[in-house]
Each structure stands twice: as structure tokens, then as C-alpha cells.
Symmetry: D3
Subunit: 237 residues, 6 copies
């Protein structure tokens, strides 16, 4: 019944390759099926201005999509002179999600910027960005720990995200583009390694949904995030 | 325990005054406690370009905050040359929410723009915008129906929104600014008059949350939205 | 002969309600007939950079119009990414006018920003902004005086403004939109409570005018401003 | 008493050289003392969109200042990404002034853009732009008449402008920069060849003014504009 | 003598992997040492407006660098709201270069946009973009030929580019970042497969150069481009 | 064979008038045939931020074209809100060229901005800007030397530029617009007074070129630049 032939609760194959660029303090290429996102984490010695002299650090994120990451070429945001509302919304989400897994006091007065650039898109790019972004962040923080710049691990837990939705009347896990563009309801669940919720975003796109359906979607998400956390563990060793 | 002395499940007083500007096809001033939002609905004869010759209409929303709607004056977005990420995010949310309650085919090839301008802010401006925006939309559609321009009512149901969050460890309903700025978790529930879900957005701001807490927040939201829908009914007669 | 049935030298009913928002140091809602403008005055502890260490303060103004303040919805300036020429011109005018009634040395090194947001427009919005803006400014300055932050009153006199024009060949006072859009000549007179001139702007829009007509317009303006100053006095007590 | 040694009612030497660029349909270099403005008029076959199928034409103006036209280099507006409020205000003024001297019906459905670029500034650039802009416009219209594209002269009368102000307590004519930066009150008078008023803009900059002073300034302006009109006549033959 | 230990006339290892994204009509990942550029070619059915009804097609290019492609993170151009001068310059160069190898009449009224996105930078990104961009273009055109949409091959010849410069007083081929940042003179040669010149850009960066040195640089470039053309041939079969 | 009747190696008449604006530290109006560029050099006491405390100075350039400098009026860049790619490319070129002739250490921690504004265009505006810009720079530096602010002359040599191209199959010197718009290949040579190369930019526009042709173009350029350097010498005395 799913276009890809997957089971209702079946994730796409996930792969996370680390150390893919020589310059970034942390980096990975995450592939969730045909969705490919390059994530890098860049450390700056100084926190953003609003945190000076607070002892706290900051984690922020930026998101971009290469113009031909999608089936039809979209206009380059740098050329059009502004980021689309969708881009802004996504990068704010990634930043909030990653910060929820960080002890900003242990990080100290520095900033880590996680860049998530979609090389190829097939649905679920924001979830892949969060899951891969966490890996890049973990690797960058490892460097700080190894160098003794940070002495207590500021990473509290894994952070990973998966999309769910109601496709053809049925709750399904990890929507690809074919499903996403037809789903009556879809959204994302961001969770910690321990299974606690960081963010829930579920929206009707053509059909409203019941509280019972919301419960089923959350069941699916819990199994999906567990799989992603396992893949993160495997990647960062 | 709440700064305002309200009960855990107690909403702020809600008032909706209609017909507040002489030009707009529909308008209201909604007050949820000290949060005051002016909502207007403007009808255009033509749909946006991507809907030409489809027989479908469109509802969109724009959101703004007067510079001194808040405790500290914020920079006027028109002067700074771009809308902040927060603004873009909110107006996209309002538009999606209102569209979920509309039969775009019954509306026909026209566009209704709902402007939500915050005159005074005390938390929950996006929820008040949705609840008040629906009233302005309802009034504008009434005009189309009365004039015989639209013959079948395109409004499927009420749309209303309320915020909830975990404040001082306790799930509470309808956060004001004092609570919002301290809440460990907060978010919004957008629902129909029939109690179906349109959008759920719940985010950890300092403390992750459990699935059980999510359930309690949803219980609170259901009673809050019911109250808002009653206020909408009273306002539009 | 006037669309509204008013006499040639008759003003629209004027009302000034003060204290309309809880956050601003000074605020009022001024209504000149169907033209409604919300004016707030915000105090900042620091002067603009070019006045640092001069002992002088600054008063500036910003002007905006809600998208549906007018008969046809206009594009939101924050969304279009820049303020229109008309907006820029008006807010510069308001700022200059209010500064003309201020002793910047008595104000000291601080800045007061007067925001004038048009809720509903029916001609004469810049004049209503100046007249109402002065009230908001007066109230904010009262706060500074009461708190002992400023010890000598920096407000030298009232500042108020009225429009005049030649409509259907006849000089008339306080144009509404119906007149404004048809007037051969129109403009604004900004004056002090003592009747001295701050700014005169009179422009031919379709028909040039004689020096004699200019004189008659100024006669009308003098009576109009006197009425406005009385309304300001009544409002601020 | 004037820094330049001029009499109270004495204009700076005025020169208008026509035909200074080979591409424009009309052009001149106007020099009012050390203020030098290059004015060109460019004809387009089509009117702006809002005038299509109305039979009416349009005259518009743009104003710019070379970065080092002034004593201190100012930032290039093209580089800063927007025109300053002052620029916008001035070019709107020039456009309105020139349109006041045009029969837009006789001009027919075409647009003439008058560009006024200040090569060197010493006060009074907007007035020089209007006076020189009219000459460029006159020359471009002559071309249309000569080619038989326009058959009835759309130019109704000369349009010229001069600044006046109260300097050192005394009304003076044609302020240069040294006076302009010190004047308590200054402004511009735009008039036709027949001596009728097109626009009056007089503003207090530090000292309010009386109606009597306003009268004296207008007397000065009348003699100044007469001189400028004579110079225009000499230039266009 | 070269930081990398390469001979004066020795290129970095070059690899070109094709078909790297599933959406684009043509794509490759080109690696010149540690410089990695993802190139995609996107076909649009319509030419740009200025070529409508001319029978001619267009090839254009856009260039971007991921924020952490470099040693220090640079600001995302989409976020800063404009493309830097360097970016604009490079993408204009790539577009001109690729058009020089195209028969725009044989291409017909369509447009191909070549996007070159630098994943990792180590000098010579514009040359790699041109060489890889040609491969993406070749593959996209192959698709048009195979589908019979275009019947005569519009590609006239290979287009490839290499940098040269004077490093430590010695002309060297294919500068990497360590050399590029120290070179007294550097630039790029863009050539066809037949060895004809498309573009020469050689600039003094600290030390001017002689005509004789220019000749030696051109000798080096000729051998470099020949190697690149061979790699293109191997890649596209 | 050339539209202007000139010989293959014949330059257009060149004139350089100095001291054309009263405010700039150095200025000239350069005319290369019908191409007229106003060049000014402005000295600032402080270097750009990236050079603070390095002991080095900076020379930068900005380029603009008046809207009606060309045959058809082009849009004012200040009004369109951004500089075109062509403008950015040209002003970067002028800046690099002039810096190549400067000892930045002898200049000391200050910045000179050279503004090149095209009053009338007929091809070769960037070359005229470089040649004239050098004259303005020379005059400004003379002022610094004369005032004893700079003690050792930071100008190393003349910098001048000329365009060449292949027109109607023949290499020709100093293209005017009629030639430029038809040339198969064209470009610019920037050289010092001693005949050393600063920058070579030669690009195929419709027809690729051989190394032999490149040589002939360089021969022409050498004679052209020698003539320009002589004109510079005559101008600065």
C-alpha cells in the first residue's frame, strides 16, 4: 500500500558516514533513503553577543537546500536575496532541537553552528538534518573534550527526529516525498535517546485528525527514533 | 501558584468585538486577557497565480506586532527590511490553520487575506490571532454568501487555538507572558469546533517532557478550545 | 458642498483617548472622524550614536499603516521588504515636527521614539499622527519628570497639525479622504500652541494656487490648530 | 552678513548648459553657484502600468548624489542597498513639481523620466534639480513635437524652484550650504513662469517662524524664481 | 618547493564521478585534490525572456560555497541576503565559459542552468566548477539528444579550465589554497578541447608580471587543460 | 573598416581634466572619445577594520553609471536595491588594479576610495575608470605628501588600462561601443608605466581565439597603454 512497498512501521534504510569534510570540527553525510544531508558543526570561540559574560554557550543551526536537490530546480536563496519562510522555520526547529540536548553551562562561552545542507531531497529533510546534525555536534564536542577545552561533557543525550503521517487513511512511519505530498496529516517527533519528547509538530494537510490517531503516530515515532539513535551510536562509536 | 492567580485549567477572560474597522470585509478585536489582536479579513476577486483555472480559492494570513506591543520596544519590521523568523513562522501557522477549516472549492477562485496585528502582547498572540482570525474570516465569508457571490458555505467548522505548557512542573492552560517566559515546555493546540486536531506544536524549552504530560496538556487544550469556540459563536451570532 | 456636509471651516469631531496600551510610557488613540491612529511613546536611556556625549536628547518618529486601514488592502511593508517613499516622508515629517517643540538639552541624553500606527484611514493621517504623537510624547515626558529623571520640562509648547486644501475651487479645512482625493491643492500646517509656524507644506495636485489662496488656507489652519490644541489640553489634563 | 557676501535678496550666479550628453532626449548641466546638477530627460514609449489605456502620460524623476559631491564622502546608495529617506523625499518632490507644469493628456501615453544627478553640492540641490529638470524636460518634449509624435505642446508653463530661509534672524534668498546648515528656518518655493504656486515647503529647524516672516520669504522667492525662469528661457531659446 | 611536493607542471589528482543525484538531468562530483564541487545541470523548456522567439537557447550558471567548505566558516549568503561580489563574478565566468562551447541555435529555445556547489574548497574552485559543469551540461544535452528533443548536438567542443600562477617566483600549474594565498600573480585559463582560448584572466596579487612569464603560464595551462579534457572524456564515455 | 574610421592600432582622442570638483582630495574628468568618466579620490583617516594595527593602508574603488549614460536608460541601481553583477565585477577590478601600483606600507593606516562615475558611455568605461582613477589617486596622494602626512611616496608606478578585441576578424585597439557589441573576442589589459602586466582579461564572445591572436592583442595593448601613461603624465604635471 505504500508507494515504496514498505511496511507501515518500516523506516527507510539509514546510513551515517562521518568525517566527510576535512575542515569542519564535526561532519557527517546522513542518508535516509534518497534523502541525503551533509551536516557540519563549526566551533567558534565566542558566544553570540546576548550570552557574553553569562558562562553559557549556544548551539545554532542553518539549513539550506541545493537548488537541484529536488525534482524541479528551485531558486537559489542566496540569489533571491532572502531565505524562504520554510527554510527559516526549519533551521529554527533544528537549532531548538539540538539545544534541548545540551548543557549550555558545561559547553561554556562558545558557539557551535550546525549547517545542514540537503544534497538530495526525498521527504523528511528536517528530520534527517536533526539526526545527522546531532552526530556532527557530537563529533565537534568530542574534539573540545579531547583537547581539554571543555572538561565535562555538555551533551546530555541523543537527539533524533522522525516524520510520521496519515497516508491513505493509515498512520505510517518515515514518509518519503511520494507519501508526504499526499498525506492528509503529517509531522515530526523529536525525541531524546531516553525516549522523552523534545518537540511534537503534527499538522492537518487536507484532513483533520483525532486524538486516537495522534496516539498511534506517537507509537510509530517511538520505534523510529529508537532505530535512529542506534544508527547514531554506531556512527560515533 | 500561577502569577495571575488563575487555576491550572482556567483561561484568561476572552472578549471578541466585531466590526471594528469600516473598510475590511470582516474584522474583530480579540482580547485574551492583556493580549489584544486586531484581525481583518480582506477579499480579493482573484486567487493567487498558482491556483488560476483550478476552481479553488485560497486563505492566507499575515501577522505583525506593533513596535511597542511589548514591554520593550522592538524594531519595526518594515524599517529593518525583513520579517523576523518568528513572524514568518507564525503567519504560516495562522494561514495553515484557517485553511484547514475551509472548503477551497466552495470558496471558488478568490483569496481572503487575514491580517492579525498585535496591538498589545501578553503571551499567546498566535493563538489569539487564529481564534480572532477565524471570526474575521467568518464575517467576510458571510458577506460573500449574502451577496450571492458564493452559494455554498465554504466554512467547514470553527478553528480556534490555545496554548498550554508545563509551568513550575505543572501542566497549565493559556499561558500569559509571565508563564510563557518561564515554562519548561510549551506549545499550541489548534482544533476544530468538533474537537478534531488541526495542529499540535509542543516544544521543550529547557526541560523535555513525557508522553503522559503530553496527554494532560491535550486534556487542558480540549476544554480551552471549547471555551474559545463558544466565544466565537457568541461573537458572530 | 462638502461630501460630509461640513462647513468650509469645520473640523471633523476629534477624540483623544490616553493610556490605551499598558507597555508604552505614553500612548493615545486619536480619532479625527474616521481616521484612527494609535500613538505610543517609548523612552530609551541612550541617545542615538551621533549625540553621545553632547548632553542632547532626541525625539524620532515611525509611521505605519495596517494593511487594511484603507479601502483596498495594501501590501504589508514588512513583507515587501521596504518602506514606501510616502511612509518615509511622513515619518520624517512627524519627527521634525515633534522635535521643534522640544528643548533637547532639557531632555538630556535619551531618545523618545513616537510610533504612529494607522488603524483606520480616512484622510489626514499624518496630521492626526502629529497631534496624537505630541500627546503620547507629553505623557512619556510627564513620567520622566515625575520620576525625577528629567528635572526641567523639555516640552516647549504644544505641536499640532491640520490639513487644508482647495476642494471644488474653495479653500476648506481638515480634508477627509473623499475631499483629499479630489482636491486641486492640499497640504498641512504644523503649528505650536502659541500659533507659530513649524512647518508648511502646500502642494498643487492638478491646479496651481495663488498667494491669496495660500493666505486663506493659513487662516483656516489657524482656527483648526487652535481646536486641536484645546483637545490635547483636555486629554492630558 | 551672509558668508558669501551676497545681498539678502541676491541669487547665486546661475548657468544652464544644454545638450551635455549625447544619448538623452533632453539634458542640461545647471550650476547655481557651486551646486552642479546634471539633468537628463528620457522618453519611453509606454506609460507606467497604472496609466495604460487612459490616454494620459506621466513625468517622473529620480535624484542621486555622487558619493563625493559633498565635503565628506557619503556612502553610495547603490552599495548600501537602499535610497535614503532624504533621496526618496527629494525625487518625489521633483516629480510632483514637474508634473504640475504638464498637460498629461497632450503628452499622451508615454513616460518621461527626469534624472537629476548632483555632481557637486553646495546647498539647494533639490531646487537646482527642479529648475534644470524642467529644461531637460522642455528639450525632450521639443523633440517629440518636432518629430510630430506629440502635436499639441504638453508643457503648460515654466517650473522653477528656489530656497529661502531665516539666517541669522534675517530672511534671505537662495541659501548656500554654509547658510543652510545654520538657518533657523528654511524651505523651498516652487512656482510657475506666471508666478503661481506649485509647492511651498517651509520648515523650522531650530526656531519656529511667524506668518509675517513667511510673507517676507515668499516675497524673496518671487524675485528669485523670476530670475530662474529668465535663465531657463535663455537656455532653451 | 611546492607545499604539496608536486612538480611545477603537475596537476592534482582529478576524479569525476557522474550521476551523483537522482533528480538533475546531468550531474557530477568533481574532485581536484581536496577541492570538491557538486555540479548539476537542469533543463527548462523555456528560454529566458530576452530570447523568446529568437530560436536561440541559453546556458547559465550559479555558484555557491557551503558555509563550512573552507577552513573558517563563512556566512551563508542566503542568510546575509546577498551574494558576495566574488560569487557573482565567478558564476558569471562559469556561464560565459560554458556558453562559448555551445551552439545556441542547435540548443533551441530552452535554458540549461548549471549549478556548481563547492562541498570542500582547497583552491581552484572556479576552474573545477567549469570543468565539472561542462560534464553535467554534456550529460543533460545527451538526454535531450536521446529523447529527440534536440536533433543536432549543440555542444561544439569540450570546455575546461585550470589555474596557474607565480609562486615563490616560479610559474606553477593548478594552485592549491596554500599556493593561491601566497602567489604573487595568479589566474585562470579556460580553453576548448581543441586548445583554443575562451578566457584568460591573469592578475597581479602583490607582484606585477612580465609578458614572458605570461607565456610560460600559458604553456603550463595548455598541458593542464589537456589532462582535464581527457578526464572529461573518460567520465562521459 | 572600423565604424569610426580609425586605424587598427589607433586610440580614440584622450583628454584628462583635473580638479573638476571642489570637495574631493583628487579628481579628474577623463574622456576617451565619447566615454566620459568622473573620477574622485577621497581620503579617510582610518583603514578598513581588517587592517587596523597592521601599518598598512588600502585603496578601494566604486563604480557607477548614471541611468542615462547609455543609449537606452537603465534602471538606477540605488532604486533597484542592488548593484548588478557587472558593476560589482568592474569595481573590484578597478580596486585591484590601483592597489597593484601602491606601496600600502608607505601609505600607512588610511584608506583612499576612488569613485568612478560614468557620465556618458561609449565602450571601454572600465579602462577609462582605471586610467582616470589613477590620476585622481595620484592627486590625492600628492596632497598627503605635501601636507607631510605621508612622507615616502606610496605610488610605485602609473597604472593604466586599455581594451582590445577581435572585430570583423581583425585585432583592434580601444574598442568603442559599436565595435564592442560586435566583437568576437574582447578584453582589457592593465599595465604599469614600465610596461609590466597587472591584469589580463580576454574573453571569447561568440568566437574563441588562438594564442597567436592573443599575442597580437598584447602588442596593440602595449602601444595603447604607453599613450595613456603619457596623457596621465601631462595631466598631473
Amino acid at each position: 500500500m505504500r508507494p515504496s512497498g514498505r511496511e507501515i512501521g518500516q523506516m527507510r534504510p539509514i546510513s551515517i558516514e562521518i568525517g566527510v569534510t576535512k575542515h569542519a570540527e564535526g561532519s557527517c553525510l546522513i542518508k535516509a533513503g534518497d534523502t541525503h544531508v551533509l551536516c557540519t558543526a563549526s566551533i567558534e570561540d565566542r558566544p553570540p553577543p546576548f550570552l557574553r559574560n553569562t558562562g553559557l554557550g549556544w548551539v545554532t543551526a542553518e539549513y539550506g537546500m541545493l537548488p537541484r536537490a529536488t525534482n524541479t530546480r528551485s531558486r537559489r536563496e542566496a540569489a533571491s536575496g532572502k531565505q524562504q519562510g520554510r527554510t527559516v522555520e526549519i533551521q529554527r526547529l533544528i537549532g531548538r532541537a539540538l539545544r534541548a540536548g545540551i548543557d549550555r553551562s558545561a559547553l561554556g562561552e562558545r558557539q557551535i553552528t550546525v549547517d545542514c545542507d540537503v544534497i538530495q531531497a526525498d521527504g523528511g529533510t528536517r528530520c534527517a538534518s536533526i539526526t545527522g546534525g546531532w552526530v556532527a555536534l557530537r563529533l565537534a564536542v568530542n574534539k573540545l573534550l579531547k583537547a581539554g577545552i571543555v572538561t565535562s561533557d555538555p551533551i546530555l543525550d541523543h537527539v533524533a527526529a522522525v516524520s510520521c503521517g496519515i497516508y491513505a487513511g493509515q498512520p505510517v512511519l518515515d514518509l518519503d516525498y511520494a507519501e508526504d505530498s499526499e498525506a492528509g496529516t503529517d509531522g515530526n517527533f523529536i525525541m531524546t535517546g531516553a525516549g522523552r519528547l523534545i518537540e511534537v509538530q503534527m499538522a492537518a494537510e487536507g484532513a483533520t485528525f483525532s486524538r486516537q490517531e495522534m496516539g498511534k503516530l506517537m507509537d510509530l515515532a517511538e520505534t523510529g527514533v529508537a532505530e535512529l539513535v542506534a544508527a547514531q551510536m554506531a556512527a560515533v562509536g
